[in-house]
Subunit: 348 residues, 2 copies
Amino acid sequence: MSTEKRTPLDAIGEFGLIDRITGSFTHHNGTTVKGVGDDAAVIRINEEEHMLISTDMLVEGIHFNLMYAPLKHLGYKSVVVNLSDIYAMNGKPEQITVSIGVSSRFPAEAIDELYEGIKKACDVYGVDLVGGDTTSSLSGLVISITAIGRVNQKDVVYRSGAKENDLLVVTGDLGGAFVGLQVLEREKEVYKANPSAQPDLEGYDYILERQLKPEARRDVIGFLDELGVRPTSMIDVSDGLASEILHLCRASKLGCHVYDEKLPIDPTTYSTARDFDLDPSTCALNGGEDYELLFTISQSDFDKVKGSPHMTVIGHMVEENAGIYVIDRGGALIPIQAQGWNHFDRSE
Amino acid sequence: MSTEKRTPLDAIGEFGLIDRITGSFTHHNGTTVKGVGDDAAVIRINEEEHMLISTDMLVEGIHFNLMYAPLKHLGYKSVVVNLSDIYAMNGKPEQITVSIGVSSRFPAEAIDELYEGIKKACDVYGVDLVGGDTTSSLSGLVISITAIGRVNQKDVVYRSGAKENDLLVVTGDLGGAFVGLQVLEREKEVYKANPSAQPDLEGYDYILERQLKPEARRDVIGFLDELGVRPTSMIDVSDGLASEILHLCRASKLGCHVYDEKLPIDPTTYSTARDFDLDPSTCALNGGEDYELLFTISQSDFDKVKGSPHMTVIGHMVEENAGIYVIDRGGALIPIQAQGWNHFDRSE
């Protein structure tokens, strides 16, 4: 490399890097409706619909650890996290491509297991595997998946559409995947110290499944449609609620006030977090990998969603100058800062 | 891994693995016109057009070596190899997504260089960067690109459309990228032995460019259109002519006879191959990474292409039982076997 200046990647972070590298790109094609900067790219394909394209790369040792992630679950999860991005645009995924780089320490049977999980996800979510690439890698396993979906032009929901006073809604509950990961990491350490020890995973089913085999919220897209509610903005919770709130605020040029006491946290998540001396609210805000949907709705839609067991109003959008805060049980305003997965802190 | 049987990946190879893992998948969506098994997937998007989706993964140490591949060229090439797949369907690429996994040994300035090359390719070929993912990796650099294109439904060309007696045509010349790689590998060894030695690359410009900064044959798609020739089948030459011929024959259920003396080989490729004690025809047949287009045309179109400096008729399609052979200058029939990049032979 002929570069003289060397700026460490961890000094700028993933989102800083994305801004840095994509800033100079321009578009050449009128079919490109939306490029970088949302959960999926949007491409015009006919008079009524847009195509949605989303892609993710999962790297062994960064995103998953094969000591505790069964390959079949890993295959399933790899698909689901991509489909979640298509749902976050209010779309319907129809196809995926799957590329893998794999070292020869994996036998063909291991790859079979991975693809069993991929196939399972395809069957559950009704998507077609239409392509990919298969190559070797010098170290571990790398999985790169692209999801392709469709949405009616009038239904597409961007991160940027939130309005002041809109309600902020999240589906399901938060923090479970992160706390599940803590359990798995603890058992990994126990195993490393004593390989004959049996892992103690009893009672953790829910949070382990949240970590190892999450689902994408296709159902919520259906519920919203049935309720006649169109979110004004939407994103999926992959990097953590705090990070996603910042994305919605940044794209919509708004602030946001979120109420700590409203954060939906499952009892197992709560008690396990406490066992690990973790603050459950912090796990919910910064844990990541929940793959829930976070969206804003007009206040006039409140009556339609308030009875749903799948959705919780956790705050509301405010003008940009009013800031981005969690309001704790004592009424104190705590600034929201992204503490999501900054993978560049963890590499070699 | 709970697997008991362990079949080494190098025992089944890349194409064996692809067959193995994709065999059990079925399609759920009527929009999926063609899935795995051609240069790109084909998706119905409106009454007139199909969308084309192609994806490739490039892994450091397998597909490129940063000791001699400048990052800017690597970015350019990563895009071009994907666009080549869209052209091989007779389509027009319009968008790409780019995902990278990168270890923290790379400074941000190195990533800037990579994206300079990506941007250059986007500008040259008129495609839009619309998404991607950026993550860290524990070892080297991984690049995964998905190209999205369009083609009129009546113009799409598959691997499977060749007919008996069709002429086999290849664009440009072959083997240059492979011989260029040999030069780079030699200079790498010289450098490792004596880091103060200057690389001796004079006179190799053409084949080094073939290796480091190849172009996709967008021009040929235009020429064919102007000549009024629609190929009956087509594929791009990424893994090597022999391997691509086998793909066309397998998909079209035909045999093929190719004439050694017709193989287009550049004089620099020829003489450099000789210097390395390599058979130039073998380099042309098995070298790979030429990113030329290989296609079949009806005999009735011969007069239209015979004067083109960009295309060479190298053989013709025969019935399946007549086999797949190179006919050498002495008239002997040599069976064509895939000796393309079998990456699984080279991993750890």
